[in-house]
């Protein structure tokens, strides 16, 4: 019997006893609803090894591996994208420096610790990050370089120093634990987790048009699950492929693929200090005479990209989107996976600003948690989106290439429509059509909101669905997000302990 209390407490108990808990159980067992996202096998890229070890970074962790290492057997071109938060963590600063100094050339891998972010830790923190990289370098049979060939990542609490001695002591074991089986990869994916409820690891095979008989592999791991609103790179992500790519193409390819994958997710609107996605390509599966995938010309000249480049970007983009979605799927306290699709005939930026604002709104996210079709909050969030609503601190930013016609266009109720798109393929539920509220069938809305997955489609268009003439262009932005639950508050009200 629940304890007696006020009506509010009773309401709260109602919520909690509906078994909506999605946070990591203390024994790190994977919740039943999430097991389907954890693969039991995989095809991993040739020439890469992965592994994990225990260091005890966080005092309260006495048994779970909290160090991970991913390594290429041969030096390989490497790129990474990093958070734009102005307080970048020490491992972000160091990894950035290593990449710049080596010009993305001949890296061996990345060493990761969970349990402590090594962020805002002053100069000592930077020494610690470099020590992690150098200690790992020493494990390789090839001589250590002046600039480390290992990238560094850390994730966990901000503002605490790494227990560096425990980490360096464990690195030789970490190196000796490396291997190429599914279990090795899964162990590494587990070791980078913090509040995640399941390890996020996927792998795919693909071919390239110029030599379709060669099978390549790509694999990647990532972790969430809070402080997620990436702006270049999110959280931690590691992507490895055995395709052959030029050093100087790596970053461009990663940037293009990240734009609509890792940079299109939000859990709580907080852009972390440690976001990093690293990308390794060792070419181990490529026949010796195959040309490496080359730096693509600017995106405006997409037609000039080679067929292999086009194909690979498509593979990388789809792969990174699937990886990023896993982060949302495991958002702290999340009970829902929500796709927000905004179409606008004003500009790409307008669509994106509206989508981001909806994805960040506490009121939209609590309504989704409560399975409440409160679409007025969606409208409200569009209306106050930074860059859409002018404010003294953030005047409206007009994109440089805006035409006069676009400038004249304004978001207003009469060109705004909102629908729920059920993810079981059943019919769209219209909530607002060109500014006029629909008579909503609440039981149908409830039915759609009972599903774990939901798409919210917003049209900010003069002629939604009508192709009026050839010049009429509609831009689309997509964000992936989750709901805001009691569990999120529980997890984050008491994270450090």
């Amino acid at each position: 019997m629940p304890p007696k209390g006020t009506a509010a407490v009773r309401r709260l108990l109602n919520f909690t006893t509906q078994a909506r808990s999605y946070s990591a159980p203390a024994d790190r067992s994977i919740p039943a609803a999430k097991q389907k996202y954890v693969p039991s096998s995989g095809t991993y890229p040739k020439g890469f090894l992965a592994g994990s070890a225990f260091a005890g970074v966080k005092a309260s962790n006495t048994k779970y591996d909290d160090l991970a290492l991913v390594v290429s057997e041969t030096p390989c071109p490497t790129a990474a994208i990093f958070t734009k938060n102005v307080f970048q963590a020490a491992p972000v600063k160091k990894s950035k420096y290593f990449l710049a100094a080596r010009q993305d050339h001949a890296f061996r891998g990345v060493v990761v610790n969970s349990g402590c972010a090594n962020a805002v830790t002053g100069s000592v923190g930077q020494e610690h990050a470099e020590t992690m990289a150098r200690t790992t370098d020493e494990c390789f049979s090839d001589a250590a370089d002046e600039i480390p060939k290992t990238l560094v990542m850390s994730t966990g609490v901000i503002g605490q120093r790494l227990p560096i001695d425990r980490i360096t002591a464990a690195i030789p074991t970490l190196h000796s634990n490396l291997g190429s089986t599914h279990e090795h990869w899964l162990n590494a994916a587990k070791a980078i987790c913090t509040t995640d409820t399941f390890p996020k690891l996927i792998s795919r095979t693909f071919t390239l048009p110029s030599h379709p008989d060669t099978t390549y592999s790509i694999t990647g791991m990532t972790k969430g699950a809070g402080m997620i609103h990436p702006n270049m790179g999110t959280l931690l992500g590691i992507i490895c492929t055995d395709a052959k790519i030029e050093d100087r193409s790596m970053k461009r390819l990663l940037d293009i693929a990240a734009r609509h994958s890792f940079n299109s997710i939000s859990i709580d609107g907080d852009t972390s200090t440690n976001d990093t996605v690293a990308f390794f390509a060792n070419g181990a599966a490529a026949p010796p005479d195959v040309d490496p995938i080359a730096t693509p010309p600017p995106e405006s000249q997409r037609s000039r990209w080679s067929e292999d480049t086009k194909a690979f970007i498509s593979v990388l983009h789809d792969f990174m989107t699937d990886l990023a979605k896993l982060v949302v799927r495991d958002g702290e306290g999340a009970t829902k996976f929500v796709t927000i699709r905004v179409r606008s005939d004003i500009s790409q930026a307008t669509a994106k600003r509206a989508a981001v604002s909806i994805a960040k709104s506490a009121l939209v996210k609590t309504a989704l948690y409560g399975k409440d079709a409160n679409w007025g909050r969606i409208l409200c969030a569009i209306g106050y989106a930074p860059g859409i609503m002018p404010s003294p601190e953030l005047p409206e930013v007009v994109p440089p290439k805006t035409t006069r016609d676009q400038r004249r266009k304004q978001i207003q109720p009469s060109n705004t429509s909102v629908s729920f798109i059920p993810t079981d393929g059943s019919e769209e539920l219209k909530l607002l059509v060109r500014g006029e509220p629909e008579e909503v069938d609440e039981s149908r809305a409830k039915q759609i909101l009972e599903m774990e997955d939901l798409e919210i489609l917003v049209r900010l268009e003069d002629f939604p669905g009508d192709s009026v003439n050839e010049d009429y262009k509609v831009y689309e932005a997509v964000m992936y997000t989750c709901d805001l639950s009691h569990e999120y508050v529980t997890i984050n009200g008491d994270y450090r302990t």
Copy 2:
């Protein structure tokens, strides 16, 4: 005995059984902890009347007054500030139009309904708003004007139409319920509430330097308690004074006073579609020969303001700050009142952006709820503040008058300090000093976080506390906010029902 469940549910129960419920009880009784904010008497401005009536705007409300009316016995100059959300509600559009058409001249008052926001309700919604104003006008003994002399406000759910017939039927009763006692004002303040747990009404007396023997009064009411992140005007606010002010000075005075009062609060970062603060001055207490308070010259020529203008702006600013703070005090689910003070030597906009970002961060707010001194999240929120962290959608906005020296300055850990300022007057607790984390006494931090009120002081300065030379200028921005609790999620997961 609590029900059995996972560890997470048990943790959640721990939170909830600590009697942290602050939401409105079903019988609208005022929680014990909030009773101190409700006055038992007041001195109200001469020539103003207030009252309330029941219309049953929300079907689930069968007995609580949901209409309020505030009226001046004589026509009086009036100004208002409104939300900048691009989806402005019908009453916002109509009131704006009335003010413009009458040039802030000779209004009689404002009629308000709670229970429905009349927002995103198409052209019918605008007719409803105008009907509310015209029906109220008809109750006055002076003939109705072509442009209504009554402003309109609505608050509640977005996207539903007003039950206009029930409202117009109740307006004559509403008018006959008007009176000038404390109870009349309190009834009006109660009738505008939605999820508020207590009515927000304050009154003050003041004098003006040119004729210090005359006592003036100012009174105001406001309501919250969610979708609060005002950008010009917040939620609903009504301010009345019996001082004499020129028609064309009203808006300037209100704008100046709002900047650091109503525009410095945030509960959940959601800027509503209905925010409106109206300001009436009927001059009823002024001796006949006193000059009205006149339009002040631009703020850069503050020295040219008359003594009366200076004194009145100070009264109005302090009054509106106290009123705005009451909204935060009653934030949905709030258990804490938090002042965020940011000092920066870069620009006022930098200080404000950092303060706003901290005030909006779900991670900062849940940590405060959990009484967790997790200052890393404060840093993180500064680092990703829109306008501070560049992003493709919102490039850094450099204020127009930035000097080259200021442009060169950057926010970085080595010029960043964070402290908790206990509100009992005891010593500041330093958490981060110029980028170096302090050894924090956790029991002292816990002690400070146990208090209902807290100030977070952030210094983004090269020389914090040192006055290096006369040109060295430090800007300060203050935001008032609250924590993010389970109760917020409960209230907003199920608001429409």
